[in-house]
């Protein structure tokens, strides 16, 4: 590890794209109804709190990925199985995102293209970039971030000009009190998309600046939270909370409402572009995390495991569920059963053990 170093700007952009990823196009936080934007903001605060824990571990072992310091802290016999679980987690998350992306694409535009073909093309492009290396991925993200931001700016302005925004649809705020918002935060929003930052514990050793690095990543998380929250508020103020709640991809109908004197219209292909870009970076980051984990655990060179891993992700994503509904249902349940254990509990144990270790092994005076 640590031969390649990646600059702060690149890390900022890949974090931002990773967080926006699929979350930008799905109906995020709609368990809170029209206060979804609020639950995203609260969720991001929780997510940044969790990330502070990861940052603590990183500062302690700046040269090591998560799988390496797990073994260091917990010892070889407990640490290795735990690290292995994380490799499986990353592969699974990559596969889930691949399924998300390919199914949404099939629903939105490509009705007759087999899912397998869509998935294969997507994962092959990820594999190609990772074959070039993690650094290339981060530099690619810079280009695409610009594109996503431009699309976002354009769409927001056009929605304003076409007069589809009605802020009354966001009212009344907190109709049923704070309870639904908190429930939505606990069930979803601090984990998705913010808890998925666990993948960055594998990538942070590439950071060129140990001191500023975690701050930059936290900053990117905050920016992404603001953008996600703004997008959800936009969706609701254009479509109303009921339609948003019932659409799997609410950004699509929102953008399709853009119509400026019958000249600028049907720009919803932008949403498909944002979807593809987001899914690509999400898969790639998880994929990279899994590869780094494998090469660290088993000492196999990173590139050698690339294609086998591609196949595993591709088939996991295909076998994951029969229908998209089943896939989403599964994902929803994972969010508050399995993921908190892996993304909060185990890192917390690691922090605790490493603090205790350093306390007891500290050289005592006298």
């Amino acid at each position: 590890m640590g031969t390649v170093k990646v600059g702060l700007i690149q890390f900022f952009s890949i974090t931002l794209l990773f967080e926006l990823g699929t979350a930008l196009v799905v109906n995020l936080g709609m368990a809170a109804g029209r206060d979804a934007w609020l639950s995203i903001l609260i969720g991001s605060a929780g997510g940044i709190g969790v990330f502070a824990g990861y940052a603590y571990l990183y500062r302690k072992y700046p040269e090591l990925p998560f799988t390496a310091y797990t073994r260091k802290v917990l010892g070889k016999y407990i640490g290795t199985p735990v690290a292995l679980i994380y490799v499986i987690l990353y592969i699974n998350l990559a596969a889930r995102d691949l399924r998300d992306g390919s199914t949404m694409l099939a629903m939105a535009t490509m009705h007759n293209t087999p899912l397998f073909i869509l998935s294969m093309l997507m994962i092959l492009s990820s594999a190609y970039v990772l074959h070039k290396g993690f650094e290339v991925l981060t530099r690619t993200s810079l280009v695409f971030l610009l594109l996503v931001l431009l699309i976002g700016l354009f769409s927001t302005l056009m929605l304003m000009f076409s007069g589809s925004i009605n802020l009354n649809r966001l009212l009344p705020m907190l109709e049923d009190g704070v309870e639904p918002v908190i429930r939505s935060v606990l069930h979803q929003n601090y984990m998705f998309p913010f808890g998925e930052m666990i993948a960055f514990t594998m990538l942070m050793p590439f950071l060129s600046n140990v001191k500023k690095g975690p701050w930059v990543i936290a900053g990117a998380m905050l920016v992404s939270a603001l953008m996600l929250s703004f997008t959800m508020a936009l969706n609701i103020s254009v479509l109303g909370d009921d339609i948003v709640e019932r659409s799997p991809l609410p950004l699509m109908p929102t953008i399709s409402k853009i119509s400026i004197s019958d000249f600028i219209q049907r720009v919803d292909i932008f949403v498909v572009m944002v979807l593809i870009i987001g899914v690509f970076f999400k898969i790639s980051v998880f994929f990279a995390a899994a590869l780094i984990g494998i090469s660290d655990l088993f000492g196999i060179p990173y590139r050698k495991m690339l294609y086998p891993c591609t196949l595993i992700i591709l088939f996991t994503s295909m076998l994951d569920a029969r229908s998209f509904t089943e896939h989403l249902d599964e994902g929803g349940r994972l969010l508050y059963t399995v993921y908190p254990f892996l993304m909060i509990a185990i890192p917390a144990v690691l922090i605790l053990v490493s603090v205790l270790k350093s306390y007891f092994s500290a050289p005592r005076p006298g």
């Binding site: 490509m110 093309l121 049923d176 109303g240 049907r266």
Partner: protein, 401 residues
């Protein structure tokens, strides 16, 4: 030697991999294999087996702009029936030589008969289908089957559906009370508790005989004209009645969708005409006690004098002040009439319940089940103000000496 082998194997691999890129075109349908649907008419069939009769107005691209025009109709109407909308679509597309593509549907016309029965079920496919856009405009065809509206040749646009869109645009910008009502507006309207959507009415005037052929356009006075007029008001998803004239103006004023409209008032023994070109309306509620809410309606209007045959001194601010007071009275009476009409139809399509909900969400929960009773009796305060900005290009009007 080794290099040559490597090159060869690379070439073969590339040849095997490159066709993968072609899978991106799996869903492609070439433009000349598509039949673009510009409008859909939905009629109630006679039986449950033929519940939906869909008429698709399909653009014949060669007739719109092509060198080999056959000077025949620029659009064709295909219809199909079925138990569901989708089945009807499938049945209709069996008659067409090309794939019906729904991405450019601009107009959806629902027959009055069907609207009285309820429109909820048919809207599901309109919002679910990913090819359809939410920006399609919805109309109710008054007294006539929707298929007749869809099959009327129009003067200003070769494609009748486009003509309808342009007519609505024109009437909503000037003189008319009709405004753009799109699919998602209708869905949200249906979901308003105690209320319903307001949808534009459309109908055909004149004889039917020549309306669907080019002959309709050969005379100076077309036999048949499509008119957008009246508003269909709903309770939940069922059509309750039609509004027109002053009531319709008042209703659209309350919904804050009115851009520019004429107002005529009587002064002494003549009539004066004004053009109200700016009106801002807000509907709020004072709902500490949700059982007895007070609805507060604020209107500010700007008007310009357009016609005055009287000998009034229009250069005097006092006179204009009096006239603007009269305009304010007119606005009040428009709104009162609109509210009276809504109460008579027992449907809160003007959004008073929404105002109470915004103001007092907890109280709203308690009263929403019997909102109809409260709506029929609640107190209303109208706070109106009108300014006459100018008298156009003359001061006083000329007189005979």
């Amino acid at each position: 030697m080794n290099n040559k082998r490597l090159g060869l194997s690379l070439l073969i691999t590339m040849q095997m991999l490159l066709p993968l890129v072609l899978t991106g075109c799996w869903d492609s349908v070439e433009l000349n294999r598509r039949a673009i649907v510009s409008g859909v008419g939905i009629d109630r069939g006679p039986s449950d087996d033929q519940k939906y009769i869909l008429s698709f107005q399909v653009i014949i691209a060669e007739e719109i702009s092509g060198e080999q025009t056959r000077s025949s109709s620029p659009v064709a109407l295909y219809s199909g029936s079925g138990r569901t909308m989708f089945e009807a679509l499938a049945n209709a597309s069996r008659q067409t030589a090309r794939f019906l593509s729904l991405g450019h549907v601009r107009v959806v016309v629902i027959s009055e008969e069907f609207a009285r029965e309820g429109i909820k079920d048919m809207l599901d496919v309109l919002e679910r289908e990913s090819d359809m856009r939410l920006t399609s405009l919805v109309f109710i065809s008054k007294d006539q089957p929707a298929s007749e509206v869809m099959s009327t040749m129009t003067v200003f646009s070769k494609i009748p559906a486009n003509d309808l869109v342009e007519k609505l645009d024109t009437t909503s910008k000037q003189f008319g009370y009709n405004y753009k009502m799109e699919v998602d507006d209708v869905i949200r309207g249906i979901q308003v508790r105690g209320g319903g959507p307001v949808i534009n009415g459309v109908f055909r005037t004149g004889g039917r005989e020549r309306g669907d052929s080019n002959d309709n356009l050969k005379t100076i006075t077309p036999d048949t004209i499509l008119r957008i007029s009246r508003l269909a008001v709903f309770k939940d998803d069922k059509l309750k009645g039609w509004l027109e004239g002053k009531t319709a103006f008042g209703t659209v004023l309350l919904l804050n969708k009115l851009k520019e409209f004429p107002v005529v008032i009587k002064k002494d023994n003549g009539y004066l005409a004004f053009n109200v070109y700016q009106s801002q309306v807000s509907v709020d509620a004072e709902a500490k006690d949700p059982e007895h809410p007070v609805i507060i309606i604020k209107i500010t209007q700007q008007a310009a004098l357009k016609e005055s045959p009287n000998s009034l001194d229009l250069t005097s601010p006092e006179v204009l002040e009096k006239l603007s007071e009269q305009l304010t009275m007119e606005a009040r009476s428009q709104i009162r009439e609109a509210i009276a009409a809504a109460r008579k139809l027992e449907s809160d399509y003007i959004g008073f319940g929404e105002a109470v909900k915004r103001e007092n969400p907890h109280g709203w929960k308690k009263v929403k089940d019997h909102w109809e009773d409260i709506f029929a009796a609640c107190e209303i305060k109208i706070d109106a103000d009108t300014v006459i900005r100018h008298t156009d290009m003359r001061g006083n009007s000329f007189q005979v000496y």
